[in-house]
Structure formats: structure tokens, C-alpha cells
Amino acid sequence: MTGLAALRDPALVLALAEEIRRTATRPWTIMEVCGGQTHAIARYGLEELLPDGLELVHGPGCPVCVTPAETVDRAARLAALPNVVLATFGDMVRVPGSEGDLFLARARGARVRVVASPLDAVRMAAEDRSETVVFFGVGFETTAPAVALAVRQAAELGLSNFAVLVALVRVPPALEAILSGPGNRVRAFLAAGHVCTVMGLEEYEPIAMRHRVPIVATGFEPVDILSGVLAAVRQLEAGQARVENAYARAVGPRGNAAARSLVLEVFEPCDRHWRGIGPLPGGGFRLREPYRAFDAEERFELPSEAPREAGECIAGLVLRGIKKPYECPAFGVRCTPDRPLGAPMVSSEGACSAYYRYRRVGA
């Protein structure tokens, strides 16, 4: 057995689950940070394998979900400008802004193209210089290297018709905010493996120390996730609070040096508003001075707007792990993937979409 099959091996999964049941003597609440992990947990029904008192709560690790509605509105407004094409990842197009989503904007005549990579957007700009291509740069540290590469490539090609609407966010400040927030129940984190692959583990040390929580870098397959849970439970039971790597096949302690230095060459940390969570100091990236000319918000003067949210959506509570999606009165009734009130219902990494899609039997 190789590759994915080994990471989904029933015998190994059941053995890990048994070891977790043996190790946990008390109730614990553990947050998996990344929406990809949330989806795997729901998809494989992993919670059914855990002991009763051990609860997994779902974190804010869904870049699409934490992008504010006003940023979606701004993207729609850019796309509607003459001679502008907005290039975006697919799962952003159904995310509701305050005036509808990008699908609706396209139906009204705005130009929105779905791309799989920011480099595709650079290629579009190079092929037709009569139009400006604005890439909607949504993502975590995982996506930041590709966006950084796109900006550097556009700079090297001298493409004055390429720009980025930067909505990149950084994970560590969000963990800090969750632990400091009122009503926090999280006792340990499964850190997002892909983010750690790029940035390494150092940034988590001060958080683990200050808040006395284990932080375990964890992957995305059933064996990865249960290995992360087991490592966290072992630490919790032993009263430890270390940064630990349960995803060593992809994560080195200092991350990917080339990707990290590329990100830090093009971007610098800045304060950023997270949808549902609020303003986070250091919660985002913005372009550094030499690359500032590629910032769509500088290039096009757009009115800045106050944050607006759908009244009934409890995305903020879901993203902080305080409520489960099914505790929302609108869940599955007034809020579905076809008619979403909030981003977590549409994104492929959103907790609400995971619960909607992979409903447990009897739930």
C-alpha cells in the first residue's frame, strides 16, 4: 500500500482511534484550524471514532470565508470597470458580498474569469495588454507564494496592466485572537499543515507558550488527522503545551525557505479585517513598497466602506469554534449552498458546507 491508500488505511485509522480512546481520560476541546481538515473529518466521519468527551471544533482556516463582504463588493466593482477583467479562484465566485456574488456581477455584465493559479492571470495580462487583469488574491500563507511569484513575474515582464486585489491573511494572529476571545473553549490546536509547509513552526512557539496550548502541525488525510489528535491529547493529558510536528512528511521546522523568502520579499504583514472575527493586528499581508504599483486598491480609487454582514448569519461564531453550523437557525433552511447567507456555506473549505454536504446519519 502506498501514497493516499496508506493514509486512508482502515486498520491504521481504527488503531489510532483506539489509541486516542485509551489515552483520553478527560473531556478536551481541540480546534482543527484548516477547513480542509474540517472537510476530511466530516467526509470520513472521523468524529464518530473519537471518545465521547473529545470534541473537535472547526477553525477559521477557510480563506474564502474570512474575506469580508466589502472586499467581495470591491472585487465586483473592479470587475465592472471598463477594460478590466477580474481573475479569481473558482470558490470565490459564489461568496455573497453585500450586493450579491461575483456570478451575479458577471450576469450584470462584469468580466470575471475563473483561474486555477495567479500565474494564469499574469499570462492573460501578457497576452492582451489592452485590458487590465486584476487578480483577486484571496488565501492564506499557503497561497501567498503563488501570488508573490505572479507579482514578481508581472514586474519582470513590465506588465502595467496587471494588478492584485490583495486579501491574503496570516494564520497566527487568528489563533491568538481565538484564545484571547470571550467564550473560548479551545484547549489545543491542530495547525494547518499546508500553512506550516510554507512558513514553518516558529511563529507558533510564543502562542503555545503564552496561552499554554499544544499546537500540532497536522495534515489532511484520516491517518494524518488522527495522528494530530493523538499527539494533542497526549500533550493535554501530560499537561504539556508544545509546538509539535505530526505532519513531518511535508513540514520542516523552518518551512520552505524559498517560498517563505519570496513571500516576505513581496509582502509585509499588515492589519486586516477578518469576516466574522473583526480587525486582526498583523492578520494580513500587503504588497511591499517596490511592488505597491500592483496594488489594485492603489491603482483604482475605490470608495472604502463599512463592514456589512447578513443579519442572521453566525459565521463569526462558527469561525471561532464557538458554535457548530447546525446550531444556526438558518442552517440548511434559509442558508444552503444555492442560497448562502455566509461564505462558510459556499466555500469548499467552509465548515457549514462540510456539515451540509456530509451530514451524519440521524443528524
Binding site: L4, R8, P10, V13, L14, A17, A42, R43, Y44, G45, L46, E48, L49, P63, V64, F89, G90, D91, M92, V93, R94, V114, V115, A116, S117, D120, V138, G139, F140, T142, T143, H194, P222, P337, D338, S347, S348, E349, Y356, R357, Y358, R359, R360, V361, A363
Partner: protein, 328 residues
Amino acid sequence: MAHGGGGTVMRRLIERMFFAALDRGDLGAAADAAVLALTGGELALTTDSFVVRPRFFPGGDIGALAVHGTVNDLAMVGAEPIALTAAFVLEEGLPTEELWAIVSSMAAAADEAGVRVVAGDTKVVERGHGDGVFITTTGLGRVVAPWPIRADRIRPGDALLVSGDVGRHGMAVMVARGDLAVESDLASDCASVHRAVLALIEGGVEVRAMRDPTRGGLASALNELASSGGVGFELRERDVPVDPRTAAVAELLGLDPLYSACEGRFVAVVPREQAEAALDILRSVPVSAGAAAIGEATEDAGRVVVRSDFGTRRMLPMLSGEQLPRIC
């Protein structure tokens, strides 16, 4: 609009291309309607329109799809195809060689399926008012199943079979669109399945109901069967055949093969005691050589449940809307 006015240019296009490729003795009469001689029994009639981007993809094209899709719809009620009609809406500027390739592929698919194209129509729309080519096919079939094949005949405990690996067409087309920078040698499963269906019926398998899992994939087909049959299904995830290449593309794009379209597969619900015999029959027909038993019907009306390799169970709900590739 060179080809749209109904005059001699149009006539030449139709004669040259459509007759040359598709005529098997019925089109040449150039009358306003085909006349068919039929004997007793029940008939099945179905119609479907085909739009696909790109028009050509590994394993097929819109022409082959328009034949197979309609033949398969007939097969799902236990009917053998007799005749098809084909209506084309062509966008001005469609390259002639492309149209020829599509029409030839239709002809090959129809010959292979043993069905005649007996009537047709062509309209040309202005450039910008169509997407190259739209094809509507109508199929007439003779019902050969001696009992009705309908969802309300499904009983709890019946076995659920699928005729081959699922999700291939949807993923192959997504790769072929080429805007995702994903490469794969994955080919669509696009094929007519009626021979497998007829073999089951001739082999005495008392097929309760069938469905071809096109748009929305296996998950949607089972939900439709469950809600119209007033039963549920429980699926064993490990038994559902998925080609490793389909799985790899789906994994990469964050999509689920169970919701991805097939164009040459069907699910059949059969009495449990006939499941083994039915599988043997299916596996002896090339188009369903990869058949597998994947689960059973339950009393839990309208609910489709998947049991994972780990023994955990989750719902497989009906999802609407297109699956969108994910961000990272």
C-alpha cells in the same frame, strides 16, 4: 448567414455533410417526416439537448454524446433503440471540418449502437448567438423488458449495481477545458449501454429500476431513485469503482467523483438473489466489464447513506449547482 437562408447553399451543406455521414436509407427521401413500420408492443420515446464545452474531449465529442445520451435514456426503461432524429443549431462561423468531425462521430456512434438516424433539422444562428453547435436528439425505442422498470418497484434489501467506474466523464471534460492547468490522460466513458441492459433482461434478471448517472453523478442518480421509489440506499464506499486517474484529478481540484457525471454507465437495482448472476452478465459485455455491487436498498425512504471504510456513515445528499474547483 451564408448557410441560414434555406436556399441552395443550405441544401448543399445538408446533402454533403449530413446525408453523406448519417443516411442509412431514411434521410435521402428528403420528405418532411420519416415513416417507420413498427409492430406491436410498447414504445419508449425520449428527447435531450446537448451542449458541452469543449466540443471535443478525450473519449468523445458532442456528436457521440448526443447519440449515446439518448440511446442510454431509452435503455433505462428497458428499451432497445429503433430510430433517432437529430436537430442542429449551428453558430455561423463554425469550421466546416469541425462540423464534419462531429457528424461523422455521430454516425459512428449510431452505427455502433445499431440505431438509424431517420430525420433531422438544421438551423444556423448569427455569430455570437450560439456556442458553436447545439444538438437535440430524439430517440424512439421498443420496450423489451417484460415487466415495468420503475423506481417504485425497488424493495428494501435489493442489490445496487453500477456498470463500471464512476465520475470519469465529468473529470475528463473538466481537464479538457484546459483552463485549470491540470494534465491527465483521463478519457470520458462516453458510450451506449443498451447492450448491457438488454443482456440483463435476456438473462432473466428481474431488473427493478435503472438510472444513468449523468449530470450530478452517482449521488444524484441514487437520490432521484430513492425519492421516486420511496426507498433509501446504503452505499459501501470501498466498493464504488473509481478510476485512479479520476480520483487523482478530483483530489487535485477538491471535487467529489460521486457527484461527477458519467456518460457510459448505469446503476441497476436487482433482487438480491439475482445480484451475482447479474454481475456475471454485466461483466461479460464490454461496456459494463467493470460492473460492481456497491450497496443495497433500505427502508429509509429518500435517504442515501455511505458507509466509509472505517465503518462511519454519512449522508450523500442531493447537491445542486456545478461543482467549482477549490482555491488551494
